[in-house]
Symmetry: C2
Subunit: 301 residues, 2 copies
């Protein structure tokens, strides 16, 4: 790319898996003059400094964001607005504020009233991650080849095309495929491909644990989970994700997630009826359809 | 183990992932004098012979099982009874017939009337597998450290303690942890930890594909699946499993699977109500419970 972006001072609030990996790649690719890590946990900030993920650290948000031309808020979605509120008085004129949260519509509604008109807000969501967290989990190349969805706030808010361009350029420089869409579409897509699977995984683990109650000899409990094999363990890997983070996402994206749960319930219910009737052909047709879709996904990368 | 089992002639009907891996390990550990692979596909049988998984091959079930002291029926669950019916007239006196299917109660009901009184049937289910199939997918050590559930048919059927002992010894020699339980308990446990997750994975992929319909600009379709990340792909890996095999399992274990779908629906429904209310604390409590259970599972191996 000829016009690679460059920021003089980048402030990253929340140096966890996403914030830390972003800092790591920005340094590696020379996209930032200096990067300051801001957070509440001094232990985590020290890890970030020791691992050379950031150039300096502070627990003081005012000090951290002062003079920064890019502020990345990489804290749990429910905390983004309060971080921005605390930072707002100290933001430089012309600064760009962006985030990495997996819920957008409600976040934008909360954030816009908090920002001075001289500051641009560009909501972004790099669709990447692992179930690990903290600065120690940061890795290079996490965003390479992954989608990053940007949902510009439009003319109604403190947003400008240059700021959207700059944030787009940043993620492209890290190898991401940038997609621009509106916030509500983003929230519906993510509720389907990410939030719902997490809800299902948590539900399944709890349900299987309950299903063994009283099933053993003389009404004792059977440890059903103990009979699970590799398929179940892969399937429920995401149930090991942070409960705090996922409760926050479910709270913020409640409407879309409930809608997707209902779509899923209705699909499951019709499959249940087919299984009840032992209608082998209809089951096979459903399973074949799903297998073809899923296999295509893997081939597509 | 001091009393390692040994069979003079083992006939394996269906030399796929499970049958092939079993043959491989029995040869490796010297548990069989000779192993004959029986199947319908000559191409697959030739692969098994070329890979030295079996000593000889035949498409003729009568020829294959003649004189065998152990017959392992490793075909899809819905085909087990018809294989046993075809083999029955040619089975040696005192032969042990066993299977590897993941549904037991209905299978036993079908099989028992087909066997001569001089033959023992010992239903077994090694809880292991991958999403691959065919003789080419056979690997050594597949059963090592995994559960193998044996569901003896009891005094009512052509079963005897020595035969159960022999099949138990076989799986133990391959490193499996043998668990003895009744067929209905087996079917309920497996419907929860294995069959239901497959049903859910297939359902989720189809539902997400449908959810994108008409969501794009001007009512065009959005490829929601294209926005999925690693979590979704791991979660739906089992949706790439054989549709034929899973339709058969769902048909045969219909009652238990429907029961588990209903338990799951009710658990999901109560979580949905909590998400609808944006009750963060209750969500977090549910997610924490699931995470603790799932993390313990991984630590346990």
């Amino acid at each position: 790319m000829s016009n690679t972006v460059h920021f003089k001072k980048v402030a990253i609030v929340g140096v966890g898996l996403i914030g830390g990996s972003l800092a790591l790649d920005m340094k590696l690719k020379g996209l930032a003059g200096t990067i300051v890590g801001i957070g509440r946990s001094i232990a985590n900030l020290n890890i970030a400094l020791d691992l050379n993920i950031v150039d300096s650290i502070t627990q003081d948000i005012a000090e951290g964001v002062r003079g920064a031309d890019l502020v990345v808020v990489a804290v749990p979605v429910l905390k983004v607005a309060s971080v921005i509120e605390a930072a707002a008085p100290y933001l430089a004129d012309g600064a760009i504020v962006t985030d990495v949260g997996s819920v957008k519509a409600e976040l934008i509604k909360e954030v816009l009233p908090l920002l001075p008109p001289s500051v641009s807000f560009v909501p972004a969501h790099p669709v990447a991650g692992t179930e690990n967290s903290g600065a120690g989990a940061a890795i290079t190349g996490l965003f390479n080849g992954r989608n990053c969805i940007i949902t510009p706030v439009g003319k109604g808010g403190p947003d400008n095309p240059e700021a959207v361009e700059a944030v787009t350029g940043l993620w492209r420089a890290l190898g991401s495929n940038v997609v621009i869409m509106d916030a509500l579409t983003h929230d519906r897509i993510l509720s389907a491909v990410s939030h719902l699977p997490h809800v299902i995984a948590y539900t399944l683990v709890n349900m299987v644990a309950n299903a063994g109650k009283g099933l053993g000899a003389n009404g004792s409990d059977t440890d059903m989970l103990g009979y699970s094999a590799g398929g179940f363990r892969d399937f429920t890997r995401i149930a090991s994700s942070s409960p705090e983070m996922w409760a926050d996402i479910c709270e913020m994206n409640s409407t879309a997630i409930v809608e997707m749960i209902e779509a899923f319930e209705s699909e499951l219910d019709s499959l249940k009826r087919v299984i009840k009737k032992r209608d082998n052909d209809s089951m096979k047709a459903e399973f074949n359809k799903a297998k073809a879709l899923r296999d295509a996904l893997i081939k597509g990368g």
